[in-house]
């Protein structure tokens, strides 16, 4: 029982990380039909700079931690915005080339990170509370899991509220349905593109700082390895569906954790298998729009 609960909590924590990456990917794809390969780099950069700030302050203090989280999100948003403005926008509506540009960017940035911070992982630490555990139903759950899950839920709620309650949220929802008609109402839909990139980048940067606490280190490839699972999550959840991304994040992470523990470390294969099954049964994903 306690193992089950521990796996559940760890899986949910991992799912929360997946969601922080996948939410941005899915929003960007839904609105712009661009698969952003550079999303992992937003995450990595957020993690590195967040850690750098924490180190300057006091990594074990909550102030330092909060500062690192804020810096991570801010850096992610900033880099994503620049990416959209400088690299994506000039290729307006040339989706495949936009994807290629993000591929090039991920190559270049990972190399740059390696140049700056070295290829080895930097081990990090945060406030002592994060490393302690809390007993739940007999299981000792590391506290950082709770924090990560709480943050992901907050982000989900924030994005939903933003999409439902604000004008720009409305523009984004409308744009996912019919971009041309949004422009025909006199709205510059490209601003919504930039905004979606910024939001996705912020979530990824935030996810980067949290992921570095979850795994206990930062490295130039941190983002890339999470990105692949986030891709799988977005396909399984249905490209462009935020709810789908949330549900699939949890499903995929839990499946991975349980398969790793109970089926001899086969988690990654089980996920790829699940992906294949979803594609065979429902190519549009569990919550995706079925093509007309």
């Amino acid at each position: 029982m306690s193992t089950f609960v521990l796996l559940l909590a760890t899986g949910l924590g991992l799912g929360a990380l997946y969601f922080l990456v996948a939410s941005g990917l899915s929003l960007i794809y839904g609105l712009m039909h661009v698969l952003n390969f550079a999303h992992g780099s937003f995450l990595t950069l957020g993690a590195f700079l967040g850690w750098a700030v924490a180190q300057r302050m006091d990594p074990s203090s909550w102030t330092g931690f909060v500062a690192s989280v804020l810096v991570g999100a801010l850096v992610g948003a900033l880099v994503a915005t620049l990416t959209e403005l400088l690299l994506i926008r000039p290729l307006y509506d040339r989706h495949i080339e936009q994807v290629l540009v993000t591929v090039g960017l991920s190559l270049a940035t990972v190399a740059l990170f390696e140049g700056i911070w070295g290829t080895d992982a930097d081990f990090i630490r945060g406030p002592a509370w994060l490393d302690e555990t809390t007993g739940v139903l007999g299981a000792r759950i590391p506290n950082d899991r709770f924090l990560i899950i709480a943050v992901a839920v907050l982000v989900l709620v924030a994005i939903v509220v933003f999409l439902r309650r604000t004008r720009y949220g409305m523009i984004i929802r409308a744009g996912v349905e019919n971009r041309a008609m949004v422009t025909a109402l006199g709205i510059d839909v490209r601003r919504a593109f930039t905004l979606v990139f910024a939001i996705g980048g912020a979530a990824a940067g935030l996810g980067g700082v949290l992921a570095s606490h979850y795994f206990g280190y930062v490295s130039p490839t941190l983002g890339g390895s999470l990105l692949i699972f986030a891709f799988i999550v977005t396909v399984i959840g249905g490209l462009g569906s935020l709810t789908g991304a949330a549900v699939a994040s949890v499903l995929v992470a839990l499946l991975q954790q349980f398969a790793n523990y109970y089926a001899g470390g086969t988690g990654d294969f089980v996920i790829v298998l699940a992906l294949a099954v979803v594609l065979l049964v429902r190519p549009a994903g569990i919550l995706g729009k079925v093509a007309a």
């Binding site: 698969l35 080339e97 290629l100 591929v103 270049a108 996920i271 594609l279």
Partner: protein, 367 residues
């Protein structure tokens, strides 16, 4: 045959002949090759160029001919390298039967993964192929049964490999083998492109519904191209193992697929010779940039310059972005417009076709 075909055939034969006699000559290309062309160092580099040219050719077949943007092509390359390595280590087969067995295995893997991936197209296809390759990469790193050597990689077990293909002194033979492989790959790709099934795959790239309405199955044609592409890629992998005397997990990773994509886009999507040139240039650049990165000139630069310049992948990534932004047809496209031969399709339009077909109607009223 038309006259232009004879010209290109003649040109091809001339180039291959020249390359074939290269190990017997002493040509110096300062800044590109580490030594005269008869030295093992130069031949090793040239052979590596050919490995990647082969891989790029196979990938161009997927993207250029079939309009399939795969992010999992490394799986078949790595399958060839690891497959041969494992067969040589675990069986008593001699080299050539082992190669045949490896290629058959890779063919089977390509058939199964292709059959599933081609259920979707466009970006979802890219993501699914990526996931499959990732599974392969995880498998290799996990080192089941000690088969793959994990992160350390697998070194070539030379017991059953002919002595003529082992050791630095025989680099020249490996070079000739590499040249033969490129020629075989080129002919295979040419064969598919010229055959009926290749024509149907190209037609499917443009308009799937129309292909079906004519009584043909786009799925079958694309799967065929995908499988042949996978087989040629695994042939490149086989060569890689022999040339490098081993293989590392990077040869199955997503990074390699991205690298191949860079080569093909650099050369010009949809152009066979463009893919070869792209593969060669990429390999040479990578090599030279790595040397440059460690040079004193770079070391003495201020940090802000020396950090990025000491990372070859940074420069290549940036170069790639520049090509996509400013040179959509790649080298082949630039050459075509340079020679004023605008008739054939450009890489950019081929890429458009690789996009999800539904999205091109974004301005049309929704049903």
């Amino acid at each position: 045959m038309r006259r232009s075909s004879w010209t290109s055939l003649g040109l091809g034969v001339a180039v291959v002949t020249l390359l074939a006699v290269l190990p017997l000559l002493a040509i110096q290309v300062p800044g590109v090759l580490p030594g005269p062309t008869y030295t093992p160092g130069a031949l090793q580099l040239l052979a590596l160029c050919m490995v990647y040219a082969t891989l790029a050719l196979s990938y161009n077949m997927l993207l250029g001919t079939g309009g399939m943007l795969s992010f999992g092509h490394a799986l078949y390359f790595g399958g060839g390298a690891y497959g041969l390595g494992i067969v040589l280590e675990r069986t008593d087969l001699s080299l050539w039967p082992a190669v045949a067995l490896t290629l058959l295995g890779a063919l089977a893997v390509a058939l199964v993964t292709g059959a599933v991936s081609l259920r979707v197209s466009g970006i979802p296809f890219a993501m699914v192929t990526l996931a499959f390759a990732q599974a392969g990469s995880v498998l290799v790193r996990r080192n089941p049964d000690g088969l793959t050597g994990g992160d350390e990689g697998l070194s070539l077990d030379t017991e059953h490999v002919p002595a003529a293909l082992v050791g630095v002194v025989h680099t020249r033979n490996l070079y000739w083998l590499a040249l033969a492989v490129v020629v075989i790959a080129y002919l295979a790709v040419l064969w598919v492109d010229r055959s009926r099934v290749g024509h149907v795959a190209a037609a499917s790239r443009e308009n799937e519904l129309r292909v079906r309405s004519l009584g043909l199955q786009p799925y079958t044609a694309k799967l065929f191209v995908f499988v042949v592409g996978g087989a040629v890629a695994s042939l490149a992998g086989v060569l890689y193992l022999l040339l490098q005397s081993g293989t590392v997990p990077r040869s199955v990773g997503a990074d390699l697929t991205v690298t191949v994509l860079v080569m093909v886009v650099l050369g010009g999507v949809g152009s066979r010779w463009g893919a070869i040139v792209g593969g060669v240039i990429y390999t040479l650049l990578n090599q030279r940039l790595t040397l440059l990165a460690g040079s004193d000139a770079i070391e003495s630069l201020p940090t802000v310059l020396h950090v990025p310049l000491s990372e070859p992948m940074f420069i290549l990534g940036a170069l790639f972005i520049a090509v996509v932004l400013f040179m959509p047809g790649g080298i082949a496209g630039a050459a075509r417009s340079g020679f004023g031969r605008g008739r054939s399709r450009s890489g950019a339009t081929v890429l458009e076709a690789a996009d999800d077909q539904g999205e091109q109607r974004v301005l049309e009223p929704q049903p």
